[in-house]
């Protein structure tokens, strides 16, 4: 377990989930810096700015107010920096339509169903392209 994820964004409006997820990331030890957002709006506005540090990993929920996960991905598609991002969808949805839809985005590296545990985190770390 030598691979370290420098900057991780959690975009989710479920406060309890975010709290629990942060605990798990902390316990895993590979995630050096974790920043949380309760919707995608702020992230999408700043993500491609040159002066902004680029997150190595984005953990994205789908059902959110303002800009939900899909809208976030649609906007990200239009950005020139999109290929540099590792987005993992984390949702309680197990709807097959959502999984299919997620595959349309090249930025999305995997579709992870909640609940999350350490094994799933290990998988994510493996799939992240640094």
């Amino acid at each position: 377990m030598s691979k370290k994820i420098g900057l991780t964004y959690i975009i989710d409006d479920d406060k309890i989930f975010v709290f629990v997820l942060k605990k798990l990331l902390e316990k895993n030890g590979s995630f050096e810096n974790v920043v949380e957002f309760n919707n995608g709006e702020e992230v999408i506005q700043n993500i491609c700015k040159p002066d902004q540090q680029r997150p190595n990993l984005i953990l994205l929920d789908i059902n959110m107010p303002l800009i939900d996960g899909w809208q976030f991905l649609d906007l990200l598609e239009t950005y020139s920096c999109k290929d540099k991002h590792n987005v993992f969808i984390m949702t309680s949805s197990i709807d097959i339509n959502d999984i299919k839809r997620a595959k349309n985005y090249t930025t999305v590296k995997d579709f992870i169903s909640k609940p999350i545990n350490n094994e799933k985190l290990v998988e994510i770390i493996e799939k992240v392209k640094l």
């Binding site: 989930f17 629990v20 309760n38 107010p65 309680s92």
Partner: protein
């Protein structure tokens, strides 16, 4: 001479020493020899017999230029050049005879070598090797033979060589009447001087084209002027001979006098032409109606007689009491207007007598004919008439008139076909006289007119005339029509004719005819089936005109017969189909109506039953009335369909529409149209519509669609609900399981405490979710849906009181504009919940820069009540959120206390009461919800 002599010597020495040569010349008779010095190629020797053979009888010495008569073809020379040792080979070489003609011969060449070089060439052959197939070889021994033949055959022969006449046989000269000297002199001037100017080009073309194409012979027939000026017909066969360069240097022509044959041919052709022309005239006459009165008709026919016979004069005379009077005259010299004196009967007894026992007076020479002798002084001489053909026209057996055909100057022999034609013309005159008489008798002029029209329009009508109980006349058209020849029909009596009538029609036909005759009807018509030559029956319509004698028996029974098989078949089909149609229309529950010229001309009993109108009502319906009674929503579509199809001349199409019944209610109907069009104008003539009441079907269709829509909506809701349930419950349970994992992993009491608090929060949220879901299910399944009449104003007032505290704390201003009398049907708790949710939302999402102002309006529009609640809050970006606005757990502003259930519940409440909700919003300006209550 010396040179040639040395070759002669050489030849004989070779002859002695060479066995093969010796054998060939002495034993095989190849005594025509020559020797050629190949080294000194200008030297050659040719033996005497060869000189003679070529016609040089008296060649005096050997130094005659041999090259003029002997020619080695190029291929032979080439062959010689290739030789390397003594050789004998056979080849063809050419000699030129005294006439300058090339003679081909097969020769054996003995090629001799000296010091490895070709030195001499000896040729030898016998006379049989000369090519004698070419008759042009004017070798002396053949000349006599040619002369003998050319003078003893009946055909003339003449020969032209290099454009000079070199020979002309006496038969030829006799033919044209010239002596050889005269002919030669004329030929010098113009070789085509005897050819008729009209044939000149044709003859020249024949000859020059043949020469151009290197044809060996050509044949042409033309008129040739005899010395004494008259033309004879000649048929020439010209054999053309070409020299080696292809130049036609000689023509041997065999000529024959074909004047007699040609004249016969011309005569036959002109006869055929005339017969054809005459037939045309007759066919025309009998198949058409001539306009005008009787005199004009006779004038016309008389003129046709003259033209058909190609004669100068034709006239029609009528026998009056004591004289013959000229009724009509045609004269090619323009004597038409000349008044022709009457001929006194007493002056011409022989002439008139001639008609008592014959059907024509045929006089090839009027001055040498007993019957015409009476006329000479009075008539023939003054008019210079030489030939005469007069045909009597009789009525009731008595002489009535005469058709006189006359010719001047030129003697002519009346041909059988001309006599037949003249008779036919006379018959026709008879017919028009009869016609005229009948016309006069007939009172009903209009009927007559119709019949003539009928006649003129139908040139195929056959004419048959009965006279004295038998068929006396059959027109060509009838022959064509029936397939029976005129000869076959002529002379048949009524009973024989009746044999051809279909047995089913015969009794009726006989009855009609005999009754009509008994009643002396002059005009009848009837239909019957007549057996054709193929034994099948054909429908026929006869229009008969009957002329009666004074004693009451008929004198003439004139039938105009036409084939009406097609009409009859169509009629039969029509009857059949009409019968079927009636059967169907009267027995089907579908209504049938027929529209003709924009009017309903037929409506079936079931059609009447359909909408409750009376037959009389329909009869006065115009197209406008029909369209006016259609449902306004359907009429445009129907008009489009109907006129669109009519424009394309479609014969069958269908459409559905609602039509107002007599009771004022619209009924759904399906119309199947069947249209018949006028082939010429393209307009419809019959519009048959089969109509069916489909109200029930339409009702069912409507209900089915409604149920289908409801089911679809409910399915959609169910799927949504399942997703919501799975998602929302899962999100809580996954949180719970994750917290429990963490709880288990730690022993730190502080951390455990923290997790426990999280567990509590999560569990609460789960039970909230389950509560709301239960609430939703209750609303949708209508468990709490107890509807009653509610006053909207009161309900709104109650809701405002319920949230007074919030209103006050947020400084909200509420502007209410709700009439107090509006009542709605609904569920009390739902309406309170709707108003509560919308008002709290308006306050919750107030604009940070201003105090909330909420307007509540209500208005009744038709059957609906519209409640509008608008605020001046932060607004919702509908372009992003419209889809999910009324979904479960959707919050749009990231507000702490937004639970995402309010609008979902509002929508559910309204819809469960049968209403709907609409939203308008602008970010930073405010939101407006419109709720429609039924």
């Amino acid at each position: 001479m010396i040179e040639s002599n040395y070759l002669k010597v050489l030849f004989y020495s070779y002859l002695k020493n060479n066995d093969k040569l010796f054998q060939s010349v002495n034993f095989l008779g190849k005594k025509y020899n020559f020797i050629w010095d190949y080294v000194n190629q200008q030297n050659a020797w040719i033996c005497d017999s060869l000189w003679k053979k070529l016609g040089f009888l008296n060649h005096e010495s050997d130094d005659l230029n041999w090259k003029n008569i002997l020619e080695f073809p190029e291929n032979v020379k080439w062959k010689l050049d290739q030789l390397s040792i003594d050789t004998v080979f056979e080849t063809l070489i050419y000699f030129k005879n005294t006439e300058g003609n090339l003679v081909e011969t097969k020769v054996e060449l003995l090629c001799l070598f000296e010091e490895d070089k070709l030195s001499k060439v000896i040729g030898y052959f016998d006379k049989d090797d000369f090519s004698i197939g070419n008759e042009s070889t004017f070798l002396l021994e053949k000349k006599d033979k040619f002369d003998f033949i050319s003078e003893n055959i009946s055909d003339g022969i003449y020969v032209v060589e290099n454009d000079k006449l070199v020979f002309a046989s006496s038969v030829y000269l006799n033919m044209i009447g010239f002596t050889l000297e005269e002919k030669l002199a004329n030929y010098e001037k113009n070789k085509f001087h005897l050819i008729h100017p009209d044939d000149l080009e044709y003859v020249r073309n024949s000859i020059y084209n043949a020469a151009e194409l290197k044809k060996s012979s050509t044949k042409y027939t033309y008129r040739c002027r005899h010395k004494d000026g008259h033309y004879i017909w000649r048929e020439d066969i010209m054999n053309i001979h070409y020299n080696e360069t292809g130049y036609p240097f000689r023509a041997v022509t065999i000529t024959r006098d074909v004047t007699k044959e040609k004249q016969e041919e011309i005569e036959e052709a002109s006869r055929l032409n005339q017969v054809k022309y005459q037939n045309e005239i007759l066919v025309n006459l009998y198949s058409n109606v001539i306009e005008g009165d009787l005199n004009k008709k006779i004038d016309y026919v008389v003129e046709l007689a003259a033209k058909g016979l190609n004669i100068d004069r034709a006239s029609f005379w009528v026998l009056k009491k004591d004289h013959l009077e000229c009724e009509s005259l045609y004269d090619s010299n323009g004597f038409m207007t000349t008044i022709v004196p009457n001929l006194n009967v007493r002056d011409i007894p022989k002439y008139l007598a001639s008609f008592s026992n014959q059907n024509a007076l045929i006089a090839d020479d009027v001055y040498d004919n007993e019957h015409t002798s009476d006329l000479i002084d009075y008539y023939l001489k003054p008019l210079q008439i030489t030939d005469l053909l007069d045909i009597p026209v009789r009525e009731n057996g008595k002489l009535f008139g005469l058709l006189c055909c006359e010719h001047r100057q030129d003697e002519r022999v009346w041909k059988e076909y001309e006599i037949t034609f003249a008779r036919a013309i006379a018959d026709y005159i008879h017919l028009i006289l009869e016609e005229d008489k009948r016309k006069k008798i007939e009172i009903d002029l209009t009927e007559n007119q119709k019949m003539f029209q009928f006649l003129s329009e139908n040139t195929s009508d056959g004419i048959v005339v009965f006279e004295g109980g038998v068929v006396s006349y059959v027109s060509l058209a009838f022959e064509k029509l029936s397939g029976y020849s005129q000869e076959f029909v002529l002379g048949k009596n009524a009973d024989q004719i009746f044999d051809f009538v279909h047995p089913d029609d015969l009794p009726r036909l006989k009855e009609t005819i005999y009754e009509s005759i008994e009643k002396k009807l002059s005009k009848i018509s009837y239909e019957y089936r007549f057996k054709g030559t193929n034994n099948e029956y054909y429908w026929r319509e006869d229009a008969a005109t009957i002329l009666y004698k004074d004693d009451g028996t008929y004198s003439k029974y004139i039938i105009l017969s036409r084939d009406i098989t097609n009409r009859k078949n169509t009629e039969q089909e029509l009857i059949e189909s009409e019968r079927q149609l009636r059967l169907i229309t009267e027995n089907t529950s579908d209504g049938v109506a027929v529209i003709e010229e924009g009017k309903l001309t037929y409506v079936s009993p079931s059609f009447l039953k359909l909408l409750g109108y009376k037959k009389e009502d329909y009869k006065v319906f115009t197209m406008q009335d029909i369209f006016a009674n259609m449902h306004p929503d359907d009429v445009e579509g129907v008009i489009k369909t109907v006129y669109g199809n009519l424009a394309q001349q479609k014969s069958e199409f269908k459409y559905e529409h609602r039509f107002k019944g007599n009771d004022g209610i619209f009924y759904w109907r399906e119309d199947s149209a069947n249209v018949i069009y006028d082939k010429e104008t393209g307009k419809y003539t019959k519009y048959i519509v089969v109509t069916r009441d489909i109200s029930k079907r339409k009702e069912e269709e409507k209900e089915r669609n409604r149920l289908h829509r409801i089911t679809e909506k409910q399915n959609e809701k169910l799927v949504n609900f399942t997703h919501i349930v799975s998602h929302d419950i899962r999100s809580h349970t996954s949180n719970l399981s994750m917290i429990l994992d963490l709880f288990e992993d730690t022993t730190n009491p502080e951390e455990q405490k923290e997790y426990f608090s999280m567990l509590k929060q999560s569990t609460n949220k789960l039970s909230d979710t389950i509560y709301y879901l239960n609430e939703t299910v209750s609303i949708q399944s209508g468990i709490k849906n107890e509807r009653s009449k509610l006053n909207l104003f009161t309900k709104i007032q109650n809701s405002i009181i319920g949230i007074n505290a919030i209103i006050k704390s947020s400084n909200a201003k509420i502007i209410k504009n709700v009439p107090k009398d509006i009542e709605i049907i609904g569920t009390q708790s739902y309406i309170e919940s709707i108003v509560f949710n919308l008002l709290t939302n308006a306050i919750k999402y107030k604009h940070p820069d201003r105090n909330p102002v909420i307007k509540i309006d209500a208005v009744r529009v038709g059957e609906e009540v519209i409640l509008t609640i608008s605020d001046n809050g932060i607004g919702i970006d509908l372009s992003k959120n419209k889809e999910k606005l009324f979904g479960m757990y959707k919050t749009f502003h990231g507000n702490e206390d937004a639970v995402g259930l309010g609008l979902f519940m509002v929508k559910n409440h309204i819809e469960s009461m049968g209403g709907r909700i609409e939203v308008e919003s602008e970010v930073n300006k405010g939101t407006s919800f419109k709720i429609y209550f039924i």
